[in-house]
Symmetry: C2
Amino acid sequence: MITRDKVGRVTTAPTHERLRSQIEFTLEIDKLKRILRRNTLVDGSRRENDAEHSWHLGMMALVLGEHAPPGTDLDKVIAMLLIHDLVEIDAGDTFIYDTAAVADQAERERAAADRIFGLLPEDQTARLRALWDEFEERRTPEARFARALDRLNPLLANFHTEGGTWARHQINSAQVLRNVALIAEGSETLGAYATELVEQAVAKGILAP
Amino acid sequence: MITRDKVGRVTTAPTHERLRSQIEFTLEIDKLKRILRRNTLVDGSRRENDAEHSWHLGMMALVLGEHAPPGTDLDKVIAMLLIHDLVEIDAGDTFIYDTAAVADQAERERAAADRIFGLLPEDQTARLRALWDEFEERRTPEARFARALDRLNPLLANFHTEGGTWARHQINSAQVLRNVALIAEGSETLGAYATELVEQAVAKGILAP
């Protein structure tokens, strides 16, 4: 049976073999729902997991897209955000202020990308891996905007949970402002907004100066 | 200050006023993470919530898109799936086999859509509401494919958790096959696959005939 892949290329692999791999991948990524992040939900009730976090970032791209540089492909940003944390199924969540864990993070995550994207049919492995690499390399407007949302999200959560991870891990405003710089790289407006939030957080006493 | 919205129209609302509404919406939808569905994660460890479910459906659209009818706009499908359950923040999750709850579901969900999408700037309220209405009406290939994934997902979860909600709520194969019909409406291949799964589930004794 002749089938066509998403971009219309004819592929000789039978549909059921492709589908089998795709379903296997679909079941495997369910594990992302069990990878916990450091921050909590906005109501503080429990820690957030990577899957719901990825959904939230996709929604942020949908409603904050106008603050990306003109011409940014927002559909690509959304796809990037949906897949960006899949590697944490194997590599775990790395707390951005944990210097030791950050050191070998890239290596652990590359091995995870090989295994997880490798579950898919070859053409899809290549396509999703390229998207994840693009996100990691942060050279395109899409990758920079996706990263900006990924950094803005916990800042919002911390601001609205009386300091959240900042308070629990003794993070100060200088450390947070290094992340805000990444937000500004992806979106001038959101960078300015994040800077304002940090100033307000310091003024409110929920973030050390 | 003159700004442009996502589709490039000039809007006279100042950026900061739009941004304020968008951030308020972003914080409000965090509540979707606390809306629990009937089914569990694939490992059976706990019930799934709407936010992580929506992420999973977005991922399914990304990897199963080739099984949609040719010409289906998959980016639109993904956006639809990200927002499709937001109304449950107010209306709650309605179990598809709960006839009483299904009766006034549409009304409860419309009121929720008014409030939740209404938090956004007007042009975005209209855009997301139209997308949600399209999903609900199931008249376009995008809406039908999105619905097919929304129905396939719990079927997969139940199959891989020894019957899951089927077993707990005494659901039989005739009831499940009515949902499979919705899958086939959105994707011939996925409909055939789902039918096979139901047959296998009955043969394995994890679904009543």
